[in-house]
Symmetry: D2
């Protein structure tokens, strides 16, 4: 895409959805370190998300996590979001923290537990209705820790049954996004461990079911951009959960561990139409800011995704295609690397300026005084985290 | 399966197919070490395979690899197999060793190369007709080494087109087995890198297309038995390529690196009906005996698969199911481990005795003098290997 | 070791140390599921450990974790252990849960935090003095999450300085055991990530410093038994932290995920003198029983280690050595596999009978009523876990 | 290093050594695809290397591989190198392609084979004397494929003995560089599998023995820059073998698979004095250009290393150190990323211009007509490859 104005237009129209839980405390099984100024409720999380949007201009949507973001009055929460210039994104279900779910939720051997889990998923669709959320995002921690612990194929039957019931409940403009994950918290089998499993279920469910690619949920060596290209070709890529990792599901800031991989992923997105309006790929973040300040970390993650997108848009598609057709390995690789090696920060600064924003959102946020303000204001109460 | 006679019957009816190339020389990119007595042509490979069958009683089928096993007269080869008590198993295509295939075969950017590759696949179906082989096994080394080298989704289009043409050519009792592999020889993308990709293509092709699980072709940490259970549940598990690995596609003897994994795989096979006659799962070996004597190595691999199968058959299915239903993690794991910890060598010795064979096929083969005989006889000529 | 009585004697003399925290609650970052009957204090943990020893006869030592097991009166705790037939094993330091340690402990950029961390280590030596513990076990979660976050080499300097100070404080019969871990909770660098780093520090410190091999702390594909053999050859293997894993630091029961690996490890231990009295290798468990009952899980882990040890002891060392010398790959591998394929449960049952114990400690424990007793008795109070 | 002229001076003084075998044919175990114009002998390999140096100005040294580069008259070869503006770099031993080495070389169970292997290493020192090479580079494929195949610790004894003998033979200005590799061609144990093993042997040998870090020889997830920092701190980093990989030892062009990793490695090199004259780290390439044109691939690899070095030199060391000291995670990471995100191609173009070279060595080489020339000239004879 050699036309700079087209590149800029694409960058202005990309929407990056941020997760409410990214503003709360998180950690590892060893320790959750609290931070000053962390929100105490969903309203404060939205306020933080609005800071990210105010400085980047591309983050108007916020994912909620139920029950962490359960409120009495979803209409009020939705109005509050609107007042902040935000709208509610995906509703994320949580069927992994109730004591009943120790051995699984929708795949649990006990039908009573499965009923409870499915009911929670249906409740999430109710919340979609109430908030205008278009996406039900399903991640199941279901699995087993020991060989023999449960019946692998039997659990697939139970999973399929629950998904079908929830799929039926979806409205016309609602879709189901099914996430996969190699392992953790289950350590032997996971019931949706890879894209193939998610894809197979989505295929049977129908067009409203699509796959979520969380960039931290793969086995070492997995080529994620291949999966992205494959799913786009099949019309089955629903969303990304962006984050980055060196080892397992590290949940570091997107683009922090392997910016070249993020660029390659965005290249496949651009190449296969994933940035076009009708394709409807949701670019979400899903991260943990365990030791770094949270709002600035989300801002950097957003700009990292933008930089990867900008580089992907700058690839000379014609030259690439010509080199590929002629079988010139070094030339085709060179076209890609030329774009990657370009410093796109000035281009993005211009894009922001044209949107009436500061050229450097990270610096602008730090200079805004917001971080000090929330640290001073949000005293008392219980800080939000994965448990609340 | 607590009934010992039923266990024995199942063990007697299991067929393990051995690969013609397992009797030839193999190695790494660093060196192929030749061994004395290695066959010089497909007839001698069949002779070696017949030794394995003669001593184990469960290996009457031999996979061929074209062009390595190309002969003038396939009827003669098939008759020779029959004389040895063997029959021809899967026909394995080879579209990775012609100079034209440097950048791919059926996914190559150049349509002339794709035509050549597809023609080779069609030739393999001709050989199936000529030999009575029921299975066309397809492994594609196709892929790329560098980001940008070729169009990932475009290569899927080309792959789908070639597979469809070959699928059309299959006879009523012939099927297509599509193998996947994470990497090697391609080092950036591989066009069929995982079971999901193979499954998606097979699904579109139709019921005669099924997935091959090569136990050495996964990313670290992949739970292979999950894939086995999933594919059996979908009726899409066509075959195994058994071998074992500590690192990548090491192609060591089946059961040598992780006998517990092999047992878990066979548990899923047994549990999900994969040993039953109608299911038609082909239990093939696909290995390289780089430094060990080849015929004895194949014999040990066969007995390793048998031992894993025997242990899987000994699992107390009722107790397992009961423990799973009640959510007793330690009890259900314990049922599985009881079977694994059982020494099944005496049981298998009995099975062999009942078949009129020696109790220990490995020792019996070594005592037979065959190894010395072929070393003395097979002098001159060119030893078979991956290149010939 | 063909002499059965010698094998039995070795099995009777092996000591397996269990961790106090293995009896408490544990989980993942997603959820800690509580269990009935979990101990509320270090005394109750010792009571649970005494159950394991009572039924297995080989687990008289218990590792403590400070501050989780901090008590007013260590003499009283030590006496209580003695009354239960136990003694205090390794003292495990904890410099990862104080808010000051968010960016590191002994490697923290701030010298005040390093002082605090080192003081904690010195306190642990005091507790060794008070309890008669011979081993200071050091695991540092220290590391960084992002490239550039801190100075990798500078952190090594700080680590070396702290270790030297603590080493100086050790008494004549006390040693320092330095554990390594690839990652978690740090996700970019870990300051002691591999055996090489631990070994290099121990070498500089002196003979009282030795390496701990936690079987769950390696990169995928790492050959752990190689490390064990190497460290024994160097006199630098201080201890094991046994557990098992399919993916990362899963902390499953020892021997549950890969019993063949555990056997290979124990083969190197036996082969290289690690079971002999003077060698002083500490066989510790370090596990999390997130979803299974804890005391029975520890018992099964102990018996799994025993079974692997028994099989290793049964290897025909002379035949193995002869086959190795002659370069007979299949024969030498066969000698090893013969031992592995042996069912050693009857042998271990005899060993237990000779020790005056029940033949099956797992079943005996379940029949003892203890599990029901502690569930009924231990009501109220706060259950012990990683945080307390 | 904010002073641009200092950065340029450092870039001009960095020497990148290229491997003679990188100009020959290579491939995988599946197929070696020949290329037109590939050299037939060591003299032609030097001619190719001189092209790389002529266009980049930083590649005056060439590694030889014995016996692949064995010649009658090493003085003549050395003179020829000199005439081309080159000098001989490391001498690489090869003890993996003789039939005797099937089960090992210096660690083989048979002392006669060990003697033969050690003699080859001593011959390599003779060649160092004859060519002025300062570095003996040792990579051992030695290892085993099956558990029990040989005695792990015994092989360490044999390795130590051979290394000591060769070390004794080194002249005052010669050193031994000991490479490690996780696996391949050995698939169970490798005798020098990791940096710890290499380091431990080098430490015992003395100051002339140092470790080689091949960037493709690690387990998945290994933090290579940690190892680099650690070895530089210990004065034990002798050399790099640069290449890149997505999976195993893929041997792709340096910087092609993970340019951010290469940058992080070069940051540790710069930070820990590895670019300074006295440190004497040898920056070698060790790659396979299986499908791409070889000379241009080496040129791109050289410029990739230069770009990573330039970015590392541009890091604001003072700002980084200040942010690290203050524990500001996002700021310190930001300083690093600022340098990485900089487009350094214009700076390197200036450096080349100041050296009297073309700004773009890749384009200049392609325009030079050399590739067409060698393809036309080098007809007949046997192309060089790993086997010759």
């Amino acid at each position: 895409m050699s036309d700079v104005s087209a590149v800029k237009a694409a960058l202005k129209s990309q929407v990056i959805e941020t997760p409410s839980w990214g503003y709360g405390n998180s950690g590892t099984r060893f320790k959750v370190f609290a931070q000053p100024g962390v929100p105490r409720d969903p309203f404060e999380k939205l306020a933080d998300a609005s800071q990210v949007h105010a400085h980047t201009g591309v983050a108007p949507k916020v994912s909620l996590h139920i029950p962490w973001d359960r409120v009495e009055d979803y209409a009020a929460l939705t109005r509050y979001a609107g007042d902040l210039g935000l709208r509610i994104g995906a509703i994320n279900s949580n069927v992994f923290q109730d004591d009943d779910f120790k051995l699984g939720s929708v795949t649990h051997p006990d039908p009573k537990v499965r009923r409870k889990a499915t009911d929670h998923l249906l409740e999430c669709v109710d919340i979609m209705d109430a908030t205008g959320s278009p996406d039900l995002k399903l991640w199941f921690s279901d699995g087993t820790n020991y060989p023999g612990q449960d019946d692998i194929a039997g659990r697939q039957d139970r999973l399929a049954e629950a998904l079908a019931e929830v799929y039926e409940r979806l409205g016309d403009d609602q879709r189901m996004l099914l996430e996969y994950k190699l392992f953790e918290p289950a350590f032997y089998t996971t019931d949706v461990p890879d894209w193939g499993t998610s894809y197979a279920h989505c295929l049977k469910l129908g067009p409203k079911a699509q796959v979520v690619v969380d960039t931290g949920h793969h086995a070492p060596g997995t080529n994620i951009e291949f999966i992205v290209a494959f799913l786009l070709r099949e019309g089955k890529l629903g969303a990304f959960d962006f984050n980055s990792r060196f080892y397992a599901d590290d949940d570091l800031m997107a683009g922090a561990a392997d910016p070249f991989q993020l660029f390659r992923i965005m290249h496949e997105v651009v190449k296969n139409g994933g940035l076009e309006a009708g394709t409807n790929v949701n670019f979400m973040l899903d991260q943990c800011h365990n030791i770094e300040a949270k709002i600035p970390a989300v801002i950097r993650s957003v700009t990292n995704v933008q930089e990867a997108t900008a580089k992907a848009l700058l690839i000379d598609a014609e030259a690439l295609s010509e080199a590929q057709r002629s079988g010139d390995v070094l030339a085709s690789n060179g076209v890609l690397m030329d774009a990657f090696n370009t410093d796109v920060r000035p281009l993005l600064a211009e894009v922001r300026e044209e949107l009436g924003l500061a050229r450097d959102p990270f610096a602008a946020y730090l200079a805004s005084g917001n971080q000090e303000r929330i640290a001073a204001d949000r005293v008392g109460g219980e800080q939000a985290g994965w448990g609340a």
